[in-house]
Symmetry: D3
Subunit: 268 residues, 6 copies
């Protein structure tokens, strides 16, 4: 159980946000939800304040009174520059600036393995390896990590940047056999990121206990993260349903998968 009194969840109406609501009071004394759309079926410990993250004044109101934030909101896949800029760059700045003005103590930031997607699949990296984003989306996640580092060094706002892999009900392609993060393990690592007495500024990869692994994830050990699920349970099903790409296909060669195989403006 964390020591925070009110925890804001951004992106609360998305798939991950909905899952996280199952963590309930393990996140903090009470939970405030926000998203562009309203959340449903509020529990007693929940309140809902929809907002557009690109609206700074709105964000200021939503953040007020919270002492911790789980920032899941924004664009969660590659998009146009305008979408990435508004949702992820402006949106994340607004969250951190509001947090600074309102004295928020800790932020769990949903970063992504696409911040380092251009490492080769047969390399093992740790969280200190220089960022190698694989998309504008990945660049925006690097921006969030860099901003959070600055806000810790300058203002003392603690952050755990979780480089989330593929968080879905189950793995549906072969790369997800490596990158899958079950909903249960997602909740576990977010809960630990809030309940740890001190996190300073940390970056941690976040996947389940999958047998293939291209990350040395010591940061997760510091948090006490012990994943309970594994993509291995779906291995045969995935192999039967999918083809294996060519080893020189960028989608196979690089950790970022298909993000490394396409240009970002598809219509050109």
């Amino acid at each position: 159980m964390s020591h925070f009194t009110k925890v804001l969840i951004t992106g609360a109406a998305g798939a991950l946000g909905k899952e996280l609501r199952h963590s309930a009071l393990r996140l903090g004394g009470s939970v405030r939800l926000t998203d562009r759309i309203a959340s449903e079926d509020l529990a007693d410990h929940e309140e809902d304040m929809p907002v557009d993250l690109a609206d700074f004044d709105g964000v200021m109101q939503v953040v007020e009174g919270c002492d911790a934030i789980v920032h899941l909101g924004g664009q969660s896949r590659e998009g146009t520059w305008e979408a990435v800029l508004d949702s992820n760059i402006k949106g994340t700045y607004n969250i951190y600036e509001a947090a600074r003005q309102h004295g928020v103590e800790r932020i769990v930031y949903a970063s992504s393995v696409h911040a380092t997607g251009y490492y080769e699949r047969n390399e093992t990296i740790d969280a200190k390896a220089p960022q190698r984003p694989d998309s504008l989306y990945g660049v925006s996640k690097c921006f969030g990590e860099d901003l959070s580092r600055y806000c810790f060094d300058q203002f003392g706002i603690e952050s755990v940047c979780l480089r989330i892999g593929s968080c879905f009900p189950e793995p549906v392609d072969r790369r997800m056999l490596i990158t899958w993060l079950s909903y249960g393990d997602f909740r576990q690592i977010v809960e630990l990121s809030l309940s740890a007495p001190r996190v300073g500024h940390m970056i941690s990869f976040a996947t389940s206990d999958n047998r293939e692994r291209f990350w040395n994830n010591e940061a997760a050990s510091v948090l006490g993260y012990r994943p309970q699920d594994s993509a291995d349970d779906y291995r045969e099903k995935v192999f039967a349903a999918t083809d294996q790409g060519h080893p020189n296909d960028p989608a196979v060669r690089f950790q970022g998968g298909s993000f490394c195989a396409v240009g970002h403006f598809e219509d050109e």
Copy 2:
């Protein structure tokens, strides 16, 4: 002499841009200048096309026909989020996106030592050390470095990110005895960044041959950079004119100097 036929200089009307014009044909076959204001005294090999970097259509026109860019434009010190966002984040994106669409081969990007300003002054770091920006300005420089890494990995656009120290006529405070980059040495490292046959994606610190140094700068050796000037010539003058701060003052303790000592919105 570089092999490029037309080199665009952004920020051409600023102090560094003006200096770089002295490099003349060593940069490329001809030079196009751009800034928000017009440049003066054009030489035969120069043309001028003023533009606001935040205007993507304008940037597209300015970039067309160039095969290399020296991107000095944008905000060169801490500013409001709006200023940093428009000049450095949108502006740098516009340059790289226009470069991608027009087939520009190489960009020399004026990054800054403020991308790593929160390392302690008595630490030595190299260019692979994780970024630790000391300001919104520094965060925007990290953004440019990350974006350029992505554009190399995805599109093959080469970049040299020069983490420029204090580029002024002479060092005027004690920290500049470490960080000073003379105009001559600035021109040298930019010229080398263009004339090197291949740079891939590189990050290099850029200072003169000052006796104090907190960077291990192997990347500069790859370029063949051998600074000709030294802040040492101004050492006594600077010592006489300035006070030494307290060792625990963030402006003394951290590599970023005064950027580490002030919050970014002073009036709040």
Copy 3:
């Protein structure tokens, strides 16, 4: 299951080769066996083409039509220079050169922990530690690793170099409590080396899940290797049957064991 259509196994009549035949169709669509002597009891998916690896023309014929190779053949212990040269240096060159000419895509190469046998027993190394061979045999394994690196960089032939420990039915001396690789785990790691969609050029130590360990083996994590056996089951038996050497005996002091304790030409 791998995506290869025909996999060549060299050294097929040796102990490891015979074991690997139990992997059957998990290796590829069909399997071709080769050794200096004929293999017996061929299954439907198997064919046998005996050859001497030092005979390049013969090797060319054997490799033709295969798209992957598991190269177990050659001298598997210290020998005279002539034996090592013919079997391991010329033999491995012949395999790689034939692979290049016939367009083989991937080779699983049986390297050895004797490629790094001169590290001290109480050191932990990873696969990037400089080679320190402990014998002419070890030098020949370094040669194979170096050649395979070259063939990947120059020709794109993928290789997994497995630094195999002690692959026997069970551990029979105290060092094998650390280095033992069960036949089952051997088959697992070879199968994974073939079924992984991309391996590039990798070096991986290969031992079972023994409690003592002097390797940090991240490469095996990339492959998804999870050993199922452990030398621990034989611990008491081995302790009862063997003596412990003196800590300063090279056979005890160095990872390579007895290879480090004897000169290579005993009769001189």
Copy 4:
């Protein structure tokens, strides 16, 4: 079972010393106990020779006839300089000098995580990280590690320096959820440190299999250490009974816990 014929245990009448006596003949052919006070209930394989470690002549007598030492004696928490100097600096010197003169082959030295207590809690370090002691006690443990390194390099006396966490019947505060070492696991790692055929000079952290961990402990893998206990079994009990400190409290921020939060002479 180790190959030593007589093993000396210093600090034998303390909590850890008493526990270690349960290891009985797994330590060596026979066991000699020593402490400032007499030990009780001697077994057939035990003898007792009380001594003050600061008394060199006494230590010489106690060490004579032993071929291995488990050095648990001395001050096990912060104290005055005089206490630390006598018990830990002079005492440890006396043990090593007597060992040198009597030809002792191996020493298991009870070092402490307080030798590196000033690393931040959210950092992961390994045993090669520079020492950062958090107390005079920690400085004395660094002294012992440095002296043992010297005695191995100069005289060939092997040492395993065990950086023991919190060795108590059960964890009683939140930091111990990370640092706890059960008595059983303590016995295991000491036994392994004696039975390993060669240890050279090693430093190993020593904790149980607790889910939170801020050490990369490869040295323990070399020894074959596999902890059987975990602080997790006490997690709820500890959380219920204790408060979580503020993240900026040095007792929370640094690995050394409360040692980092207090000056060493409280009455000054």
Copy 5:
């Protein structure tokens, strides 16, 4: 010129202490000298207060009123344990404890290359390499480094630990062609250690600009140290006057030279 008002020099009557007095007011506003014997020919800015460093009360008096210390005092070569303990361990503790009680801000501590003397001569190490002392003297220097690290982390007392090579009028044996530190360069690096605005806790090797070098000395770059002298000027003279030892002689093989070749109690 440093910003300190009164600098204490211990060991002031020794060879290095005498040399340092030539630095005069570049060390601070005034200088206090101390040693077991009185210093002679005091200048106006100097005062002398002889003391035995093992006498804590005396040390307290000597330190009072100083804001910086250059701690050269103590045993400067291998000796008996008693001598090392009194002069270097107790003496250095007394200096740091008195500094803590009197609010001294910075200490320049004369450490030694014998703190890492057991690295091989053909290895290059930096200041973060684990200590490997080559003598009881070297162990005592490690103690001083560890204590100073603790005093910085706990109390904020800044220290520069200078691992001084061979500081003599000129090099007189072949190892000194590597380790020689001229008196002039010694003065330079001490002056810089005091005048640098912030040093935190640093360890730096200190030798002249000798062509052979087995240290990567980035810390000296942070200080701005640029040695003016070189052992090369004495190369022919030294070669003519001395013999080269056997490569397997510990005095040749290890960085610590003859310290690595002798046991510490020669008469035993």
Copy 6:
């Protein structure tokens, strides 16, 4: 001046061998020359014993009576496998095996930058970076390095492996502006490799003081190597006479230059 009494130079009739003869008595008490052809104009301190390095019995005769070897012989560029095998693999083995049998103490082995030619041009590597040969020639140089490492660890034969760049009268293409080693600097580093009192097993890059550099060459500092020449003196001449390749041409992209751009059997 070295302490060796008779130094064998292999490849003595080649360009480098001839140059080295100018070093005369600085190499040792006397010099024995060998090559497939006879050397001319023997000095008093020289004798000549031509041999084919592939002839072991002949090599045994040539090595007898020498205590050091400078092994320049063999194929110095890419060739057929048969040529590389005979000259470089068998030839180098024969030298080391004869050295072992005759008690030779030290070998200076002419390795090559082609042992690491597949690193990218804008990377800086040191001598511990894993080998990445760019040719069969490069693989054979890796073999020599590995063999020499083994012969040091097992038999105590010291070796300096010099990774020679482009050793010619002057640089004639743009890559040589980086890799050029003047004859004078070549002689210097060989002389130092013999005169150093102990080298153990070292690998050192060997180039002149060229302004561009992609090696961190600490090993050369240990030897005391200070190059006196620079390719910079030829910079303008080379630029005028040669074209710059395309940055994606392997000959430009990789450190090995043109070796990385061609398959090894051009006629296939």
